[in-house]
């Protein structure tokens, strides 16, 4: 056990947690409450009216990772939460803020000079920060799921039901057409199993891990935090544009292979979990004939985590070899 925690210095871990505490608590609160709120908002719109609205945008269906029909279910509408700006930005802000702070932030504040004069290796310092950031990303993913879980369990949806009326007949219960339908509020949990959102929450956490790794890499090269954030934000926007362009035009579809947002498709993974639960945990997807269909939800998560690991490895390589500019 001692060897397992050896890469992390307990004092540094405490310091990193103390530094990140406010941002983490704020992000967790926003993530949890927004996801809860989002479920409640879903319950406010009757499904038939929502369907009428969405049908008018049928031509934009290609921009969606799932068919529109998926959006006419409670699970599909709630899964859209993971594409909401607040949720994605909450994770991105956490990951970029912590990743950028790792080296260029500390260099800018000038605190790295005295910290690295102590017997602390640069690798240990970076790994400690990475561990705390990763733990935060996982907690944020968990908070999103918990928000949805609580939302589903405390929210009721209106449902039109026809009460069964027992009339004597040879076959048992018979429907009585003269009995009118009534609208009743039923717990949303009767319609959705919150476990179907696990793949989406994990996908969100994996996105956070990748963004934190990328920010740490840029931070390890740079000496100004504002520039690090600027570079990562530019990469983020360019990658997002590449995904939109790739979806918009057949000619630009190749761009989808070069943007990390291709690996962030929580709605699709929720759809898998709803329809074929086993497929939500596949690394690769193959059809009945064994034909390769692409990475599965876990495969996409692994790609994001793998890219994040490569970025962290690059950051380690750069940071352990670079000169530290004087404060």
């Amino acid at each position: 056990m001692r060897n397992l925690i050896r890469p992390f210095n307990v004092v540094l871990v405490r310091k990193a947690i103390a530094d990140a505490r406010l941002l983490l608590l704020g992000s967790l609160f926003v993530m949890f409450s927004f996801c809860w709120l989002r479920v409640w908002v879903v319950s406010l719109f009757p499904m038939d009216r929502f369907q009428t609205i969405v049908e008018q945008f049928r031509e934009f269906e290609r921009f969606m990772p799932v068919p529109f029909e998926q959006l006419f279910t409670y699970s599909g509408r709630i899964a859209l939460t993971y594409d909401e700006l607040i949720v994605v930005m909450c994770m991105a802000v956490w990951a970029i803020a912590r990743g950028s702070d790792c080296v260029s932030g500390a260099l800018g504040r000038g605190t790295l000079e005295m910290v690295l004069a102590q017997p602390i290796s640069r690798a240990r310092l970076l790994l400690t920060q990475a561990a705390v950031t990763t733990a935060g990303s996982i907690l944020l993913g968990l908070a999103s799921w918990l928000g949805i879980y609580v939302g589903i369990h405390v929210t009721h949806v209106k449902q039109v039901v026809t009460p069964p009326v027992w009339t004597p007949s040879l076959s048992g219960a018979d429907f009585a057409p003269w009995v009118s339908s009534v609208t009743v509020a039923v717990p949303m949990s009767q319609h959705i199993d919150p476990r179907v959102f696990w793949p989406a929450a994990i996908n969100l956490a994996a996105l956070g891990f990748f963004l934190a790794g990328l920010s740490t890499l840029i931070s390890a090269v740079d000496r100004f935090r504002w520039r690090t954030i600027g570079v990562v934000a530019t990469i983020y926007v360019v990658q997002l544009i590449m995904k939109i362009a790739g979806l918009a035009s057949e000619r630009l579809a190749w761009m989808l292979n070069w943007t990390f947002f291709t690996c962030y498709e929580p709605e699709r993974f929720v759809s898998y979990a709803v329809h074929v639960p086993r497929s939500a945990w596949q690394i690769i997807r193959v059809d009945a004939s064994g034909q390769w269909l692409g990475p599965g939800p876990v495969g996409h998560d692994l790609i994001l985590v793998g890219l994040g690991l490569v970025a962290y490895a690059g950051a380690l390589l750069v940071f352990t070899r670079r000169d530290l500019p004087a404060p």
């Binding site: 000038g110 000079e113 005295m114 910290v115 004069a117 102590q118 602390i120 070899r321 000169d323 530290l324």
Partner: protein
Amino acid sequence: MQIETDHLTKRYRRVTALRDCSLAIPGCEVFGLLGPNGAGKTTLLRLLLGHLRPTCGSARVGRWDCVRESLQVRRQVAYLPGEVRLFRRMRGSGVLKFFARVRPEGSWQRARRVADRLQLDLSRRVASMSTGMRQKLALAAVFSCDTPLLILDEPTSNLDPTMRGNVMDMVKEAHNAGRTVLFSSHVLPEVEQVCDRVGILCDGALVHTQVMSELRRRHRIHAHLRGPVPTPPPGEESLSIQTDTAGNMVMETSGDLAALLGWLATLPLAAVRIEPVGLRAVYERYHVHPPQEKDASGA
């Protein structure tokens, strides 16, 4: 703790911050580094800590290489940077606890004692401390480490005269305890006060190493003669004499002053002034500034 550098060089794109610096500091010595801004003092200290990688040459602290075994080097070193930047959101006590815990040999009690000695209020947040208080806080963190080597980059900057004296006393105590101190400063009297040897850096090169005990034996005699310039007394090989046509004479000697005073008494002197040759004279030998620059700086 011995320090050794061998042709240590640090070059940036167009600037050579340190050039071919070969230096050997034996254990238990207070070694002062002198030089104007940009002479390479801080670069040398930061190369020793592994903060910078040398362009060529090597440096060792004890038996450890400063690049390959930087972690072992830093286990032996307590370092005070020239510009102290600490965690602004923490209180003074929090900062000292952090540095005490992050080192295996660190001690919070010892740090608190040093802070008391420096009359530092540890309950204040770093952000609300003055520059001098931050300097004291960093000094408390550094002097609380029981390491064989202390590297101090301008330790008395931003301190009042009383605290400067305290810091000098702490340097002497560290020396008496058998620790090696590498000391960079612009304040010549402080360097004269505590250092055993002094290295003078000029444009990134180590141009002179002065043993302070030799310097303390050297005296300069300014005299105004009424008669002809005398021939030096026999046996005074270390005596150098410079005269001008107005009868002014400057003598410098590292020998026994008592014997020289007897000879001076025989000369036709109108006025005489005897002073020790201070570090300033040695320093200025390598750093001659144009007069207008001296005026501007008020020197």
